[in-house]
Every structure is written in structure tokens, then in C-alpha cells.
């Protein structure tokens, strides 16, 4: 097989492969250009935080994005660290935050993060009316941000607060916002989003929280980073090693089924071409060229030959002699044998049928 034929044969798979690569690149580029998702610092969609970051930068606050615990360790007292998803923090991340000298804002932290970073604050069940009423009145705590914000629309998690921590907007023993030393816990991510930034006191709250120092470290912990247990670790040992052994068993099965009883026997076979191929080819050429005149002439000549054979005349006998049947047929026969060329294929088909009829009706 020549290289060209090989390429031609592989064209389909190559095209599909190229399409997949191009589509992947396009998606990757499109995804990389604008961040998407909740609390994405560059995000321009409703759930992103692009607006907040833009306003902070306008006010002269430097906003850096961090994804790894090492980036957080060096944060000094002039920095506010916003932890977007504390639930993703591994032990390393929590340790790094605890040792950082910066102010920390935790957005909707879970139990582990609270325990390590904010002593005195525990997750609690939200009373139903807190969620339905929406706006909570006065903060009732000394946090400057809460004071600046005033009444606030907060949804999400609430916390039980015990000294030394202080709760804000407390109602029925639980608070959606809590302060413990340099750490602020906020039960909801909504105030930071583009969609909700301009509602109630959200803007004041978030600006005051993050604008207190010249630098903000926007910490988006990587999922699974920092020593989280992987999927493989979660699978029971038995399943894991059983699967490994089963794969080996698959290999043995492949060896069993793959071993042939002796080599394949090849054979040289003769060429097989239908002898009527050329005739069919000629028919297709006539048809493609629309050679009705030629076709009609051939059909007429053949009909003449058959007529002559029936009457015992030489094949070049005159039409009158060939079509000497009943008087009524004679004109029609002459027209059939010597008439004009058919104008379309349907006429040619009719001509063939009528010539057949003429030959059959001739004694």
C-alpha cells in the first residue's frame, strides 16, 4: 500500500481527531479567558465576584489570588485573607491560616475549619424564620463592617457563638456573622457575588471587611489539595486488590483466547471478474450520455433482424417486406422501424416495448 492510499484510508479518523483537539483548545481558551463560578475573583457572571474585586482595586487595595497554602503563610498583618471555600482546606491549609498574621475572612466554613481557626464558634441549625424573613435588623456587635452595613440580607449557615467570639445579627441564639480575634466568619457567600453586591448593606459589609488593609489575598483552595483523602483511599482494600487480581485474570483470559491452534493459512485466490461487466459499463455510458438515437437505431436493427428471421428474409430486406403484416399494422410498423428518434427515456422504453409487440405479432 502506498503512503497516499494509507493517508486516504486514515483520513476519517484523522479528521475526527483534529476536530476533538480543536474543540478542546477552543473550550480551554474560552474557559481561561473569563473565570466562571462562585466567588471567582475575575468572574463576570452573577455568581462571580469581579465587581467587588474591581471596586477594591479602584480604592487602591491590592488583590492577589492564591490557591496554595504556601502563598498564605507569608501573609502579614497588612493583609486580609479571604478564604472562599474553607471546606476545601486541608490540614496544611488550616495550619497555614492559623500561623498567618493576617486578618482572615471565612466564607461559610464547615466544622473542621471552625474548630481549628475560630474557637468559640460552632455550626448550628438555622431557625426557619431567619431564612424566610431575609433582612436582619441591627448588627448588635462592635464589628466595624457590620456597623457600616446596618440592616442586611443574609442567607446560608448560622453559628452558635460563645466567648471569646462575638456574634452579629444574632437571633434566637444563633448568628450568621461572627468575629473571633482577627478572624471573621460569614455564613453566606451571597454578599460577595456580582448579583447581590448592591443589595441592602452588602457592599458596605464586604468593602469594609476586605478594605481594612492595603492588600487582599483571595484564597481559593484547590480541591483535593492539602492531604485530602483520594478516591482510591476510600475504596475498601478488598475491592481494590480484588480488582487488581481480576485485571490479571483478564490478562490470562486474553492469553487463553488469543492463542491460535497453529498459524493462519493464507491462500492465493484467482481473480474474479464478471464477464458482463463491460456490457453493463457500456449500458451505463449510453444512459449517462442520453444516447437515445443510437439506442433506438440498435433496437430497430435488432427488431429488423428478428423480423427477417421470422419471415425468412435477408436482414437487409426493405421495411415494406418486413412489415408486410395486416394492412392496418403496416403504417405503424414502418413508423416503428424508421420513425424519428425518441425524445426522452420514457419514449425509448415505449419504443422497445412496441418493437417487441411488432415482432411477436408477425407470423
Amino acid at each position: 500500500m502506498t503512503l497516499r492510499r494509507r493517508l486516504r484510508r486514515a483520513r476519517g479518523p484523522l479528521l475526527v481527531g483534529a476536530l476533538v483537539v480543536v474543540a478542546g483548545l477552543v473550550l480551554a481558551l474560552a474557559g481561561a479567558r473569563a473565570g466562571q463560578g462562585l466567588l471567582e475573583p475575575g468572574g463576570v457572571d452573577p455568581a462571580g465576584s469581579g465587581a467587588l474585586v474591581a471596586v477594591l482595586r479602584e480604592q487602591g487595595v491590592r488583590v492577589d489570588v492564591a490557591t496554595r497554602p504556601e502563598d498564605v503563610v507569608g501573609a502579614g498583618p497588612d493583609t486580609t485573607v479571604l478564604v472562599a471555600f474553607p471546606a476545601r482546606l486541608g490540614p496544611t491549609g488550616r495550619l497555614a491560616l492559623a500561623h498567618a498574621g493576617a486578618d482572615v475572612v471565612l466564607v461559610a466554613p464547615d466544622g473542621a475549619a471552625l474548630e481549628d481557626l475560630v474557637p468559640g464558634v460552632r455550626a448550628a441549625q438555622a431557625p426557619p424564620d431567619l431564612l424566610t424573613t431575609g433582612v436582619v435588623p441591627a448588627p448588635g456587635c462592635p464589628l466595624p463592617a457590620a456597623l457600616a452595613a446596618g440592616p442586611l440580607a443574609l442567607d446560608g449557615a448560622v453559628y452558635e457563638v460563645a466567648p471569646p467570639a462575638v456574634g452579629c445579627y444574632a437571633a434566637e441564639g444563633v448568628a450568621p456573622l461572627a468575629v473571633s480575634g482577627r478572624t471573621v466568619v460569614l455564613g453566606s457567600a451571597t454578599p460577595f457575588t456580582n448579583e447581590a453586591l448592591d443589595r441592602a448593606g452588602n457592599a458596605a459589609l464586604t468593602m469594609t471587611l476586605l478594605g481594612a488593609h492595603p492588600r487582599v489575598l483571595w484564597y481559593l483552595p484547590e480541591p483535593g489539595a492539602g492531604g485530602e483523602t483520594s478516591l482510591v483511599d476510600l475504596v475498601p482494600r478488598g475491592w481494590l486488590w480484588g480488582t487488581v487480581m481480576l485485571l490479571l485474570a483478564g490478562g490470562v483470559t486474553a492469553l487463553w483466547r488469543g492463542r491460535r491452534l497453529g498459524p493462519v493459512v493464507a491462500e492465493r485466490l484467482p481473480v474474479r471478474v464478471a464477464a458482463a461487466e463491460t456490457t453493463r459499463g457500456r449500458a451505463a455510458l449510453y444512459r449517462r450520455l442520453g444516447a437515445r438515437g443510437r439506442a433506438a437505431a440498435i433496437l430497430r436493427a435488432d427488431a429488423r433482424r428478428r423480423l427477417a428471421a421470422r419471415r425468412g428474409l435477408p436482414p437487409d430486406a426493405p421495411t415494406e417486406a418486413l412489415a408486410a403484416a395486416p394492412e392496418t399494422l403496416r403504417a405503424a410498423a414502418k413508423d416503428l422501424l424508421e420513425g424519428p428518434d425518441p425524445t426522452d427515456d420514457a419514449a425509448l422504453v415505449r419504443l422497445a416495448d412496441e418493437l417487441d409487440r411488432l415482432v411477436r405479432s408477425t407470423p
Binding site: 490470562v252 487463553w256 491452534l261 498459524p263 493459512v265 464478471a274 453493463r280
Partner: protein, 434 residues
């Protein structure tokens, strides 16, 4: 070496053991090690296929196409270990060796015969491929395997389907013989014997000179000429390769020609004529000259003849015919009746052939073209009919040209060719044209 389904099953059971009882690397390694040890033991304890003596009971098997033949491999085990397993006697696909895998159980020092049935689908001589022996170990987990060539051939003879026409043609031949014995001398007869006149004999056949020497009236009897020479020539060039017949069931023109040639040879040999054979394209492919019993010799010689995709060298063909047939003969040439091939190949060399011999040209007509010519009812069918009519007209013209030059021509579809050629031979013989 080969592994068994049992080994695979053991590995799956091993997976269960690892999963339920010892879920650790050690468990996996342990099971793998156990399996490996078992496999090695099996391999070591298995009988040795290499130690077996394999020989074929018959080196050459002859079989007619579409009939069955059996070929036997004798497996001798001279070693001291029993060999249990499988043996496969592999043949090329067209030999039709279905069920070529057999169970094998040869105790030490004994022998077994393994018979494979062949139902060939293609003419010619085919060599056996390899014989493979797989010997399982005592645990049935692993086997030793060895393939070896055990020479053997199968010669697939032409089907000779036209045999069924032979009895009726032989009867005609005898009739010809008998009729001539009481009639007067004609062309194509030779003197047979003198016998007493009986009432009813033609008075013109009375031999007066012999009668004068005898007390009775004596008549001469005549019989058809015998010991004439028939030379069958097969053109195995490209025109013989085309498949004739409907659809995929078509067979090459050569097959029909072969069939007709065999019937003619059988008939002529019974008729007391000498039959020789040539198969020619650009070289002489087969040649049977002066065989005492021509039919088996020709059948064997033609078994391996295949059409080749080259233009036949008609000069070579004519020259070979002229050198091989020294006295006046009936030359029966099976060839294509295509316009161009005949005009450029056969016609230029007709002169010397006709000068020395009587020439009968037999061509295989294509039923597919004949049915194409009847197409009506749609544009496609009518154009097909037109093309087929043109082809038929060209063929008629070729036949006409040949006949005008004094060549006998038979143009018949494949299943009618053999009887048509046989009939023409009988007619020529009756007319004394041999």
C-alpha cells in the same frame, strides 16, 4: 505454550480469594505465584508434541470438485509420556477442511490416526499447511504447542458435470457405427470387413470380385473412420477468466470449457480416436500428448490450470498446434469470441491451421448478457438491453466471419456447451470431416 480456560477461571477465583480473604499486595502476589507454579508444573509434566512422529497416510489425495475426500495423519508417540490434547490438520481455506481440530490421546508407545474430511471448493493442487499439536499438562492449566509441516497434497479434479451427457452421446456413436456397417461407402468411412450377403443388404455393396472367388455373394461392410486425431486446445488467457452466469454464482469461462473438453475427450476416446490436449496462454500450461487412456490424464493435467490475466499468444498457440499435430486432425479450440481478441489474435493465424486441419472453435456465451438483452420497462433496463444487443451483434459478426473462412463454430451458454461440442463432433464424424 498455551493457557486454558481453566487457568483463566483459576485467576478469577484468585481474584475472589484476594478480594474477600487477603486484600493486600501479598495476596495478589501469592495467588500469582501459585498460578505460575501450577502452570510451570503443568508445562513440565505435559507430553511433548515435539517428540511425536507425524506422518500422512497418503501423500496425494485425488478428489473431484464438490466431492469429499479424507486425509489421515498418523500420530506416533515414541516417548514415555502420554500425550493428551488437540491436533489440528490445517489446509488452505478452499480445501474446505471443516472440523480440522481433533481430540488426541496417544498413550506412550502407541499410535493414533486422525482423519480430516476435505470438501474442496476450488480446482487445482493444494498443499497441506501445518499440523499443530497442543498437549495439555495433568492439571489442564497450560499446554505445550508445536506446529510442524507434514507434507501432503490434495489434487482437486474438475467436476466434469457433463458426464451425464456421455451415455446418450455414446449411444449415438454406436448407432453411427452400426448404421454405417450395412451401408455403402461414403465419405468418412473406411473398409471394415467382407461378409455373406443377407436379404435386405444394399446390392450396391456387393463385392463382385470377392463373390467370384466364393460360392456365395459377398458384401463389403464399412464403418466410420477410426483412429482419427482430435486435438483439444484450451485458451487460458484473459478471455477465459471472466465469470459467466448470473450474479455471484458465476463461474469462469474456463470451467465450462474444461467440462466440454472432458466430455469430448471421453467421447472421442470411446469412438476410437486419439485425443490430445493443450492448454495455452502466453506459454503452454498443460499438455497431454499420446496418452493411452486420455480422460484420466487430461483430468489430472487440467486440475491445476487457472485462467491468467494476459492476452493469449495466438501465434504460439498455432505454432504449437502445428508441431504437435503432425497429421490431419480435428482441432477443437476453446477460446473467447470477443471481437477484438479474435480479430487481432485468432484470425491472422487461421490460414495455416485451416490448411492442415479441421478447426472447431467453441466459445462460452454469457447468460447474464442474454438476460440483460431482454430488459424492458425502465430506462436503465432498456439501455442494458441495447448494450447487450450490441454485444450479441458483435459476437454474431465474429461467428459469421469465422464460418465464412471455413471454421466450425459452437457458441453456447456454459451449461449447454459440452453437449453442443459433443454433438458437433459426432456430426463431423458422421460427415467424415475428421
Amino acid at each position: 505454550m498455551a493457557l486454558s480456560g481453566r487457568a483463566a477461571l483459576a485467576a478469577v477465583v484468585g481474584a475472589l480469594v484476594v478480594g474477600l480473604l487477603v486484600p493486600s499486595v501479598a495476596g495478589v502476589l501469592g495467588i500469582v505465584a501459585a498460578l505460575l507454579v501450577a502452570v510451570v508444573i503443568d508445562l513440565v509434566r505435559a507430553g511433548s508434541p515435539a517428540a511425536l512422529h507425524l506422518e500422512r497416510a497418503e501423500e496425494l489425495v485425488q478428489v473431484r470438485l464438490s466431492e469429499e475426500a479424507a486425509t489421515t495423519v498418523v500420530v506416533v508417540n515414541p516417548s514415555r509420556r502420554r500425550v493428551v490434547g488437540l491436533v489440528r490438520d490445517a489446509w488452505p481455506p478452499s480445501c474446505g477442511a471443516a472440523g480440522d481440530v481433533h481430540r488426541l490421546d496417544v498413550p506412550a508407545g502407541e499410535r493414533r490416526r486422525v482423519t480430516t474430511t476435505l470438501r474442496p471448493t476450488r480446482r487445482g493442487e493444494h498443499a497441506a499447511a501445518t499440523v499443530t499439536v497442543r498437549a495439555w499438562g495433568p492439571l489442564g492449566l497450560a499446554a505445550r504447542q508445536r506446529s510442524r509441516a507434514v507434507p501432503g497434497r490434495v489434487r482437486v479434479l474438475p467436476e466434469f458435470a457433463s458426464r451425464r451427457h456421455l451415455p446418450s452421446r455414446l449411444a449415438r456413436l454406436r448407432e453411427l457405427d452400426g448404421r454405417r456397417a450395412v451401408q455403402v461407402r461414403e465419405a468418412g468411412t473406411e473398409f471394415d470387413s467382407l461378409r455373406e450377403y443377407v436379404r435386405g443388404d444394399d446390392v450396391r455393396s456387393i463385392d463382385w470380385r470377392a463373390s467370384a472367388r466364393s460360392t456365395d455373394l459377398v458384401v463389403r461392410t464399412w464403418r466410420p473412420e477410426r483412429d482419427r486425431h482430435v486435438l483439444v486446445v484450451l485458451d487460458t488467457g484473459r478471455t477465459a477468466a471472466g465469470l459467466v452466469g448470473e450474479g455471484t454464482s458465476g463461474a469462469p469461462r474456463l470451467d465450462a470449457s474444461l467440462d466440454a473438453a472432458l466430455l469430448l475427450a471421453a467421447l472421442a476416446a470411446r469412438g476410437g480416436d486419439r485425443v490430445d490436449l493443450l492448454a495455452v496462454d502466453r506459454a503452454v500450461r498443460a499438455s497431454v500428448i499420446g496418452a493411452r487412456d486420455p480422460l484420466p490424464a487430461m483430468t489430472a493435467a487440467l486440475s491445476g490450470v487457472e485462467p491468467t490475466l494476459v492476452e493469449t499468444d495466438m501465434r504460439l498457440l498455432a505454432a504449437t498446434v502445428l508441431t504437435r499435430a503432425s497429421r490431419r486432425s480435428l482441432v477443437v479450440l476453446f477460446t473467447g469470441l470477443d471481437d477484438a481478441a479474435v480479430a487481432e489474435g485468432l484470425e491472422p493465424v487461421l490460414g495455416p491451421l485451416l490448411h492442415r486441419h479441421t478447426l472447431l472453435v467453441a466459445g462460452v456465451a454469457d447468460p447474464a448478457v442474454a438476460s440483460l438483452a431482454l430488459g424492458r420497462g425502465s430506462g436503465e433496463a432498456v439501455y442494458g438491453a441495447v448494450a447487450a444487443t450490441v454485444a450479441a451483434e458483435e459476437r454474431r459478426a465474429v461467428v459469421g466471419r469465422l464460418q465464412r473462412r471455413g471454421v466450425e463454430v459452437v457458441d453456447a451458454p456454459p451449461d449447454e456447451l459440452a453437449p453442443a461440442v459433443a454433438d458437433r463432433y459426432l456430426a463431423l464424424k458422421a460427415r467424415g470431416r475428421l
